[in-house]
Symmetry: D2
Subunit: 460 residues, 4 copies
């Protein structure tokens, strides 16, 4: 295996420090380069070449990456290595808690964010002193290949990162043989579960999300809320792990024109500017079949969409449907025979919508509890008592609350990741970097002196 | 499964707070009760009934448990739930990072610390708001059974902890069916690895330790260092995961009378006061066989011990040997054919001793790197440059450094646990409790207002 | 001066540690003793003997003190001394940030909380390693004298605290001669300002409060809000620095029966149980004169009270009036000629009440900005947008927000103190203790090695 | 007064956030500009025009300023505003601790670091949300004037900083009338003490330093230690508040050639490259008079220097002497009649040197305790027991310890400032910024609900 880490000459006094200082400089240079309009535009368009999303969505990915790099200029990488110390039990003793690198680690990232996810995780791994091997989904790895060249230009030593292009099978073999101390995987639940077993739990995972949004009893700003719903469900053609998959509307919202606004917004999306586009991992047939199964549930109905995109040259191995929403009654969702079906994640422009009465909030909360994945969520309400009720009884990792709540949007300034899973990873913030890319090490200095009158005590 | 958590009426405003306040009170009461001489003595003797160790060693276990409980009186449990917040991207937005409970969790603890390990982990789980099921090794579970009654007296609700007595097989079945969100396991590497696979990585582990100590070039306080070595290797008959298994002596120490002092100290241990005693998981034959295999290595020799205890009634399913040390030359240890043998953990009163020349430090560091487990370690030296060299190139989780360094001793005031393993657990400190028993949850409040002149923007 | 600190044998390794461990034990013992009903009752009644308040109010003071002591049992005192470290600029360099004791310090506390304020500040000073001299207002110092005896019983060394009984003039002389490195003063603004000059700014102050409460536009729970207002304004006969002095009612509240409820609640207070009682620092005449001056303002009126207590034997050097409220129109309050008068703190059972229209919120905020002291405040509303408007434009140190907001209540679990003043002190929490009773000290370890090829560079 | 702050639309949700985000961007741009060789050189030479120091010393000042700005790019300004929260006492209550701006503040900085000190303090004030007025010593204010123009170019709004050029008297008047909530003063002790009284303690001070260095018993790396001593005492002609003023040599060092090495190093300094140069605040006569007074002490002697610089055109209002050292015996230093004289700070190229025997360490420690100011210090030793003895018994704010210890060098990566003074300021690090430029504000959200069966309780 290539990725033996050379923790080398590091030490807790000045621990790993040239790494820390070097990466502060690399980050400053790379942040500056990514802020140049020419470079920003280059990466935006490069992302669009391989990952079907609008210019603005691709731009957002580069922008977040640039801001992330700005966050770790100067001394901020060494500040990540901040340790703490507490007085010990006798003179000359003091215990120190460090965040220590794992050493050799692996990173596997998906197709939908070809720049942001690999850069943020890779740099996090490096900042904390690890030696990473990186695999990005082959369909989109050209973006990261270009970014690595930029990083090399900014001072990243060639030998610090191993970048591999392979299929999943080969990568799996590599991991089993190389036995990295930690593997960060972002991608599908199926692969995540397999890796967790193969690597005996030495993993951190950011996998699927079947993300819900609840509209609370207080109705305001219909246009704004409708627009956020449309973006959450259909931007990037729904190919975000944070995309809105299930919308619970309070009955007060059902009485508004929200649904018709959602329909209007969905229907203005078009292939021309990639505000709707190809779905890379689910075919048109699979998606429509799912829609049809849902429509067999009593009381369910198609709200909009539900048909293939037209006039396009998207190859049939990809999916291509119009932004789609299916209404399913809450009581039907809760039935054992329907629950798995309704809460199946479709990684495309699709959502389920339902509504609930004031008296049914407990049923809604029960539905949240029964779901398997707990990535993002949104509670749209400015009522503090409603918010504390829903938030207190749910466990999603990244939960927006308030009138402007959304499920998508994973900026660099706050934690993004699942909760409720011992293997859950986070991305981007100082807290995420420290938790994912380092482990606690306690060093207890115990210099003495031995008390002057010390004598050998009896054995115990 | 019994252990469905009722996160109930909790909420981020006043999140889980009656739990936090209640456990502050329970801890204060239990700490006071354990500080009463009668109760302290009761638990010390009860531990001795089931776990072969001296009065002082058992006493130490109760003492640490009492101090731990003192640490979480009053508001200190709610202070564990301290969150942080950062201004967001527009007026009315603020992101909050919480440590959130997993919900239903499991705890499995071993025979050698029947009180300290289960109490510290159980209370940690409860403090952070989880619903634990607890299994203690059946041979010793009476200690925890009594402790739970004490906790109930101090106010612990009966339904807050499920306590199970079973064999490992039944427990394994229970875990597979109940699917707790996290399982904390303390015990053998073999079981740990199996659980990691069975539970798909939803585990935190504190398993075996093959713990080393290095004596550096600066020789002082021979008596003191010899005494610490004796305690590290042979207290509790070596049945601590932190016990000293391999001692590297700098050549300057070889020239002293350290070895003869070690021999004298080992030989004053006696069955009468349990300063040496039965070994619960390795038979006499297995241990002596291991000694003999080591003695076949060229240059190796028996330093002391190496024979069965005499005049005892310890059943043959247990082990009973005198405190034993075998010298093996460093060059031989490093040979591929010997390394696994020499670094095999013997959970009994046994250690390997070797020495190294000034020029061989790199070889010693290489040996450390090749070991699998990284629990405790000690670097006995007051030379800052030597310390930073050894510490910087090793990864053990709990590392003592300085003249008074030891490998054993896991007080409540500093972190204890392995490093370098993504699944590694810690025990006892606020940091350990938070990392093991909670996960990050980010709640982003986004109340608005929506800007007055806001209009629906184009789709992206 | 007696209070020369002996920082003695302390050191950053094991810095001051026997102090830290000893105070963890003293706190555990004292917390346990104060939790005994007999002791709790003793101190409650002792407080009542010297400070005119109801049993429940005095009880609350003892209870908070007991909880505070529970918070610093076991290792929690040494955890206060937690330092941090960051990698340096070259191998062997690491910078450490400590919270370091000042050394000799002084504490001066007032009559109204004869137990809570001196205990919390004194223990804070000791926890951080200082050598304090303590002066409590002579009228009430018997409470602390008894408490010191209890602390001595729990292990506090006699020489650790100097306790002085004197008038203010003598104390002032002592401070000028002894020159403590820091003096904590809790009491009147007048004395605070003088001390700040006399001691050249080496002070932390918690002085007067002219504390306001705003009732927002959303009306709910009238009975509850009225009861909180009554307690905030009149408990302890208004002799809390956090007492409600000025109430701003939104016009929506003016339409309710709030004012009549306030009147009813005020009128059920009686001397018999000390729910109203003597005022120690303002005479009856002074208070009534103030009322009359306010009533001269156009539009103002007496809402209730405004007359002396009857049938009592309170000596005339103290004050004794019924709970009193005067209404003054907002526009009049804002006039330059009235503002100082209306916002003059009366340390007795007196408040001003006004109301505001929706369009006048800016005027209310302007009034807050013009006040001198910024201790406590309350914003009674569950509307997030209203809350952020008021909180964002005010600076009071301890601000309650939400339906249940109050101005009084200074528990041990959150910070209490003014904001907006460089000399402002806090009390009780770990943050308050660290900020008030320690200073930052940076120790940069720089062990080397000096690089092998190092040569003397040119001078710069 | 011009500097009324407009806390404006800020709020704890999104508190002051556009300020935080704007300053992240300004810092990124300014850091980039200062990293351009042309700009770096411009400011280096500009500093040299007004403040007599070598190119390398002036360069270092710009470099530290640039690194400081890098540290606060992106989200790092808003991360400074990080708050914390703790669960409250009942459902719906949660207490939040914020770092809140003071509002209108003032900054006064000296001549010797015309760029670094004002930029670091000014930006710190702005980062935390304050409205500062800045006065830099008039002799050197052109540097900051140019820097402000650069900051304006990078986006700093013109109205955010008031920049004043005046003499001290006018500034004093301005402060008294404007009454800023906090004034940061860096400069002489005399002015500092006056300001503390004038502003009634609303100050933070970083004043004089009479800084000591102790060479411990373990002698190594003579050349290195001599070079550091020379730089500490004479770089910038000794005009640093951190300059080495008193050197204590252990007798083991006296036996080496250290003193002759110091002499050689001092004598290679020359006016041509400003490695020695004009002294702005002490005349030649004053300095030589001080030397002569010291030489009257029995046993004292001139080690080197002690005469005026030659062949120069430095105006006589400034000082100009050769790097000078005077030896004074330790016993003489300790005498009451000599102590004040020996420990008088001379802000020029001058130091006192003494030595001590092993048995005299307590005398040395006593000398440290008797000094008034506690800014920087150095303990040159790699012996952990010696270090903990000296550090544990001293209180200097920025203390270097280890073989490579120095007294000067105030980089942006660690705290720099005095300790042991309640008014002491720090500079540059996140901790310094937060402590100096913000105060604690506690906001307790208490939304309810009020319990359903709540009834008005009796008054208390």
């Amino acid at each position: 295996m290539p990725y033996i880490v050379h923790i080398g000459d590091c030490c807790p006094n000045g621990m790993l420090l040239w790494i820390y200082l070097m990466f502060g400089e690399i980050s400053a240079k790379a942040a500056h380069m990514l802020s140049l309009p020419k470079v920003l535009d280059f990466f935006t368009r490069l992302i669009q070449r391989v990952s079907p999303k609008s210019y603005q969505q691709a731009f957002g990915e580069v922008y977040v990456t640039q801001k992330f790099l700005e966050n770790f200029c100067g001394d901020q990488v060494r500040f990540l290595a901040r340790s703490f110390a507490v007085p010990g039990n006798h003179l000359g003793q003091q215990s120190h808690g460090f965040r220590w690198p794992y050493g050799p680690v692996a990173i596997i990232t998906p197709f939908n964010f070809p720049l942001e996810i690999p850069v943020l995780q890779l740099m996090g791994a490096l900042y904390m002193g690890n030696k990473p091997v990186l695999k990005v989904d082959s369909k989109v790895s050209i973006v990261m290949e270009q970014m690595l060249r930029l990083l090399h230009t900014c001072g990243l030593p060639l030998e610090d990162v191993d970048f591999i292009n392979s299929d999943g099978k080969t990568m799996n073999k590599l991991l089993l043989e190389g036995n990295p101390r930690m593997t960060l995987f972002t991608g599908s639940s199926r692969v995540a579960e397999k890796l967790a077993v193969d690597l005996k739990g030495r993993v951190k995972l950011e996998d699927a999300g079947f993300d819900w949004k609840i509209l609370g009893p207080d109705v305001h700003q219909e246009d704004y809320v409708a627009w956020v719903c449309d973006q959450d469900a259909y931007a990037c053609s729904g190919q975000k792990c944070s995309a809105q998959s299930l919308l619970f509307m309070h009955e007060n919202w059902s009485k508004t024109s929200l649904l018709s606004k959602l329909k209007d917004l969905a229907e203005r999306r078009k292939l021309a500017d990639l505000t709707i586009g190809p779905v890379l991992t689910v075919t048109t047939d699979s998606m429509l079949e799912h829609v049809n199964k849902l429509l067999e549930i009593p009381g369910s109905k198609l709200l909009f969409g539900g048909s293939p995109l037209e006039n396009h040259s998207i190859p049939p191995i990809y999916g291509a449907i119009k932004p789609t929403a299916v209404y399913v009654p809450l009581e039907e969702i809760m039935k054992d025979k329907n629950f798995e079906l309704v809460t199946k994640e479709i990684f495309g422009p699709f959502q389920v919508i339902t509504d609930y009465q004031n008296s049914q909030l407990a049923v809604v909360l029960d539905a949240l509890e029964r779901m398997h994945n707990h990535l993002t969520a949104a509670v749209v309400s400015n009522d503090p008592l409603f918010l504390q009720e829903v938030i207190g009884k749910s466990v999603n990792g990244t939960t927006y609350a308030g009138l402007r709540a959304r499920t998508t949007g994973a900026p660099q300034n706050h934690w993004f990741g699942p909760a409720g899973d011992a293997r859950g990873a986070g991305i981007g913030t100082p807290e995420a970097i420290k938790l994912v890319w380092s482990c606690h090490r306690e060093i207890i200095y115990d210099f003495g002196p031995v008390p002057k009158n010390w004598e050998v005590p009896p054995s115990t």
